[in-house]
Point group: C2
Chain length 159, copies 2
DNA sequence: ACATAAAACGTTATGATATAACAATACATA
DNA sequence: TATGTATTGTTATATCATAACGTTTTATGT
């Protein structure tokens, strides 16, 4: 079962987001024969502590609580796996990482990022993807990868 | 007069791109009362040496040829000015900078970036901007800033 | 169960990108 | 020319990311 897209209400049951994300990851790894190891699981857990994207060194800080702080490589390697497996995304413009809310199928994510509360939400890509495709086609350009990061204010912070 | 959008043919007269970009910058600075100083001009010249975005330290390398290599701050400060003035853009996903090809009016740029030759082209934002707006609106999100960077293969490199 | 090879991990070191802070200089304008 | 403001020069440091290599764990064939 996939998590929802879009921004979650402040009152939502976030434990469900977490457990669902981890179950999805287990399941996807099992199906694809990927090794969802302890470190990788822990990093994904940390990413899902909130809907706010985290920098690699913030992730390190939070891993530290379970003992001594690991070296940066540990986190970057785990992140490489999670990105590769489609279980997390990188947000280039903020140099941060976030758990994928719809890991069922691999996809490139398009994000809305709130500059007030720091949360980020994936948005459905289809209409956007078409607009990108059209734009590229008219320039004779062949798309391989899309980076779409929209910065602004989320509905929760507007209220 | 504005430079063109889209990818330039390999045979195009690039000297015109350069002179036009610098003239535009002079003019815009004059009109807005900005100080288009020697360093800022030199950095913009370096950015316009090609249609390929450059990292800050690549820019430094190229400034070096006119004497000793300045400190990174020099380039980052000049870039801050150029970005602020709408004379250049940052491409987050590549950590690079490129001269703006349509500096007449301030705008956020959307880029096509060729992973084969490294060149990048601004594309007309209107249809895309509408798609983004629609997507955001349906999530109740208020847009302040857009990052759209499409990676793929340019028409020149497909031929 | 055992041997073997591949994958993942731990650790140290280093590279690449970006900013802070402050003194010195150039510039606008009164 | 005097005065305040913007820009520059310089040193140091913060932040983000990867290289390299030896050890441990895991999967697989015998
Ligand atoms: Zn949640
Ligand atoms: Zn918010
Ligand atoms: Zn040109
Ligand atoms: Zn190309």
């Amino acid at each position: 079962m996939a998590n929802h897209m879009g921004f979650q209400a402040p009152t939502h049951d976030h434990k469900r987001c977490v457990s669902s994300a981890l179950e999805n990851a287990e399941e996807k790894s099992r199906v694809l024969g990927l090794r969802f190891t302890k470190t990788r699981r822990k990093v994904l857990e940390v990413l899902w502590q909130s809907h706010n994207p985290l920098g690699a060194y913030e992730i390190l800080d939070r891993l530290q609580k379970d003992g001594r702080r690991p070296a940066p490589m540990v986190v970057y390697r785990a992140l490489d796996f999670l990105l590769e497996a489609g279980l997390a995304h990188k947000i280039s413009s903020c140099k941060t990482f976030i758990g994928c809310s719809t890991p069922d199928e691999n996809h490139e994510a398009q994000f809305l990022i709130c500059e007030s509360c720091g949360s980020a939400a994936e948005v459905a890509g289809q209409p956007l993807a078409e607009a990108l495709e059209k734009t590229a086609a008219s320039a004779g350009f062949k798309i391989n990868q899309r980076v779409v990061e929209i910065i602004g204010v989320c509905p929760n912070c507007q209220a």
